[in-house]
């Protein structure tokens, strides 16, 4: 019921074309994450779905209804902003219930619905506070509460967790995932964060310059990126690319290998380099190896690996984990 369809949507700001021609189907009840480099148009797409930005052409359908020119409040969506956008002069309860107050719903109903949302988000004891008196995580929950009471078919999130610290982010990630399974509404979620994208999404849409590079399940994108861009974008640390002779050996112009798939050997391997730097993260170690022909190669090894800076290592590239690209596109095996 909360299916979102974008058909040939274009968007320009003045003479700058931000979204050239975009068609996208977001299935009902899915948790779709939009990722892409900064400025690629993620927020713009979200804002067009919300009706905060006009489309230059094309149509947007929510739940089979053409909403392209509907008012934001008439589209059955709710949005959670990166800055939370809580009304500073209203209490938490008023913030959550503002839409119903505007719609002149009876007081009892407002209180009931606000109470329900507050219960889901564990905000009951904060209802009389002003946003200023809340912590970042609490503010975020109020913003989500405001979205819940709208009872939308589609939730829109624009980098909702990016203002939170790492541990809180982890916690909110879990809560959002729970919320999704509890309510079952469609969620469209914009983020920069690899982990958020991989863990929360059942569908990831990778955007670049306003175009869809690839759309699919997280593991699909990880295992079989369709383009070199997606391959480099999904996964952290980024995939290594080798051009030149080793690429031609494999009959491609760029050979990609993820850092976690490269093997480290003391004796002998496909490539030989010198260790320049190593970052010990505890669970694993990121090793930066310098190779005379290919420059820097990133390798991920287990956490307890002890290495000497400057020492020579041998790297193996396992055949089953090689990604071959020509002209930026994946060569299917």
């Amino acid at each position: 019921m909360g299916q979102v369809l974008l058909k040939s949507v274009r968007k320009s700001f003045g003479s700058a074309e931000v979204i050239p021609d975009l068609s996208l189907a977001i299935p009902d009840g899915s948790f779709t994450v939009l990722v892409g480099p900064s400025g690629c148009g993620k927020s713009t797409i979200l804002r067009m779905i919300a009706g905060l930005e006009d489309v230059s052409s094309g149509t947007i359908k929510i739940n089979d209804r053409d909403v392209t020119y509907r008012e934001p409040s008439q589209r059955g969506i709710a949005m959670v902003f990166q800055s939370y956008a809580l009304y500073p002069h209203m209490t938490v309860a008023e913030n959550i219930g503002f839409g119903m107050i505007l719609a002149k719903r009876p007081k009892a109903e407002i209180n009931k619905r606000v109470g329900e949302a507050a219960a889901i988000l564990r905000l009951e004891h904060l209802l009389d506070r002003k946003p200023k008196q809340l912590s970042g995580g609490q503010r975020q929950r109020v913003a989500i509460g405001r979205a819940i009471t709208r009872d939308p078919q589609v939730f829109l999130f624009d980098e909702p967790l990016s203002n939170l610290d790492a541990s809180l982010r982890g916690q909110m990630r879990v809560e959002l995932a729970e919320l999704h399974s509890k309510i079952g509404a469609t969620m469209i979620y914009v983020t920069h964060d690899q982990v958020e994208a991989m863990t929360m999404a059942d569908q990831i849409v990778v955007l670049n310059n306003g175009r869809i590079e690839q759309q699919g399940m997280p593991m699909e994108l990880y295992i079989a990126p369709k383009t070199r861009f997606v391959a480099g974008f999904i996964g952290a640390p980024s995939m290594n690319f080798f051009e030149g002779s080793i690429a031609s050996q494999h009959d491609c112009d760029a050979l990609g290998v993820r850092p976690e798939h490269i093997g480290l050997r003391d004796d002998d391997g496909d490539l030989t380099g010198r260790i320049r730097h190593a970052e010990q993260l505890g669970s694993d170690t990121i090793i930066y190896v310098h190779h005379d022909d290919y420059g820097q190669i990133t390798v991920r090894a287990e956490g307890n690996r002890v290495l000497d800076i400057g020492s020579t290592v041998h790297l193996t590239l396992p055949a089953e984990h090689l990604h071959r690209f020509r002209n930026g596109f994946r060569i299917q095996d």
Partner: protein, 289 residues
């Protein structure tokens, strides 16, 4: 070392205090003189006694001033004119600025540029043509239909309601408000007017204070040229025109001082109470840099 610092500190304060004297002496002189007879006033002005509450002090000047001119009426007129102008001005200017900043409509940028450009038109340069206009405007008021605005309240109010500076202050302030608040309200189903009234205005306290104070100063203090031109009837005169009464026949300085005190001290008192807001308001007009 501490002694040296103490000396420097005292010097600093001494300097500051001397400068302060320069700024207060005319006002002290005005208030003191208003309690003195003309004779004593003139005699005292030859010495520092002019600044001291010495000699025969009385409210005679005030009593006589009230006899000479209908001061109460003038004050009421000024307060009424100023209050109405300030209130309506804040309302209309904030509405216009809201529309300029948050809404997309045909002609918006042209209109906004035209309105804000009028900032550099000095009022004095348009006073006479404006006189021609208001002289021929009809008005339907409580006392019936009139073909001219001369001798009325509206002639002192309506032309001054909208001005570029007030709109500009609101535009600047609104531009700095987070856009997402407005967008969130739109998603919550607020009409544009509801966004204005329930979200933007409640957050506009600082700019309302700024605009109100500046408009108040402009209106209450500058009622000279225009009233001279458009108000002949006593019943509509503002306080600044009341001064004319004190130069007819014999010039009584004591009474003038009393009158000046009456029309100035309330503003000064108001200023002293709200001095933080006053000064902040002037400072904020500097944002435009």
């Amino acid at each position: 070392m501490p002694a040296q610092r103490l000396a420097k500190l005292s010097l600093d304060y001494l300097l500051l205090a001397w400068i302060a004297l320069v700024f207060v002496f005319p006002v002290v002189f005005m208030v003191m003189s208003s309690f003195k007879s003309d004779l004593q006033l003139l005699r005292d002005s030859a010495s520092l006694r002019a600044f001291l509450p010495v000699g025969d002090l009385s409210f005679d000047n005030y009593a006589k001033a009230f006899q000479r001119a209908p001061i109460g009426l003038f004050i009421l007129n000024s307060v009424f004119i100023t209050a109405v102008t300030v209130c309506v001005s804040l309302l209309l200017a904030s509405l216009a600025a809201f529309s300029f900043v948050f809404l997309q409509w045909v002609g918006r940028s042209v209109l906004m540029a035209a309105v804000l450009a009028t900032f550099i038109v000095p009022f004095e340069t348009i006073a006479v043509p404006l006189l021609l206009i208001v002289n021929n405007l009809p008005w339907i008021g409580l006392d019936g239909f009139k073909t001219s605005w001369l001798n009325s309240y509206q002639v002192q109010i309506v032309p001054f309601i909208a001005d570029a500076l007030t709109i500009f202050l609101f535009v600047q302030y609104f531009k700095d408000l987070p856009k997402e608040l407005v967008e969130a309200a739109r998603i919550d189903g607020a009409t544009w007017f509801q966004v204005y009234r329930r979200v933007v205005m409640p957050l506009s306290g600082p700019v309302l204070a700024t605009a109100a104070i500046l408009k108040f100063l402009m209106m209450y203090n500058n009622q000279l040229l225009w009233p001279i031109m458009v108000v002949q009837e006593e019943s509509y005169r503002p306080v600044m025109l009341g001064l004319q009464y004190f130069f007819q026949l014999n010039t009584a300085w004591g009474e003038i001082m009393a009158y000046l005190t009456i029309i100035t001290v309330p503003v000064l008192a108001f200023y002293l109470v709200l001095q933080k807001a006053f000064i902040a308001s002037i400072a904020s007009t500097g944002i435009k840099g």
